[in-house]
């Protein structure tokens, strides 16, 4: 059961990667990166249930915070590019 769910979620991640590769502007890529980061938290929860270890969820927690800070930095960068135009 849980292997099937992991396979479906991996296919969804490939859809996200498609948007990262093709997105017309930089903002589209930032959005796709944000969404991929939230889905990786779900992967952490799956691995934690599959193996019974808790450190996968610790990794997911740290990943969520780092993703948050990274996306905020990307947003600041995009805004700063607007000042120069």
């Amino acid at each position: 059961m849980i292997n099937l769910l992991i396979v479906i979620l991996t296919c969804c991640s490939f859809l996200c990667l498609f948007r990262i590769a093709r997105g017309p502007s930089a903002s589209d890529r930032a959005v796709a990166i944000d969404i991929l980061g939230i889905m990786i938290v779900a992967f952490g929860a799956f691995m934690s249930i599959k193996t019974g270890k808790e450190f996968y969820l610790t990794t997911a927690l740290v990943w969520a915070l780092l993703n948050f800070i990274g996306v905020l930095a990307l947003a600041k960068f995009l805004e700063g590019k607007g000042f120069d135009d």
Binding site: A30, A32, I35, I38, E54, F68, L72, K76
Partner: protein, 116 residues
Amino acid sequence: MRETIGYLFMFIGVVFDAIGCIGLIRLPDLYNRLQASLKCVAMGTSFILLGTMIIAGFSPVGAKAFLCLLFVLIISPTTEHALARASYIAGVKMWEKSTVDRLKEDNVARERIRVE
């Protein structure tokens, strides 16, 4: 019994993640993609973490899943707002069938953003 309910929640979560990623491909412009996908994916991930909490019960795994759920619910609207504002200021165009754009009509506000 508890595992069955947990796996049911996880299945609903994965379905919502899939819908969010399909929306990321199908929708026409950035703002619609941002809302649709981020809402669906945040809800899917919340349901997966809720299923993890139900399966694990009162254990370290359950407590950390609760903390993850809290963080996902806090950070996803914040990043949504930050990305929408940044893309508007960076000049990403809206879809051509959009109806109104009050932010463009109130030009004063936009000038104030640029000065800050």
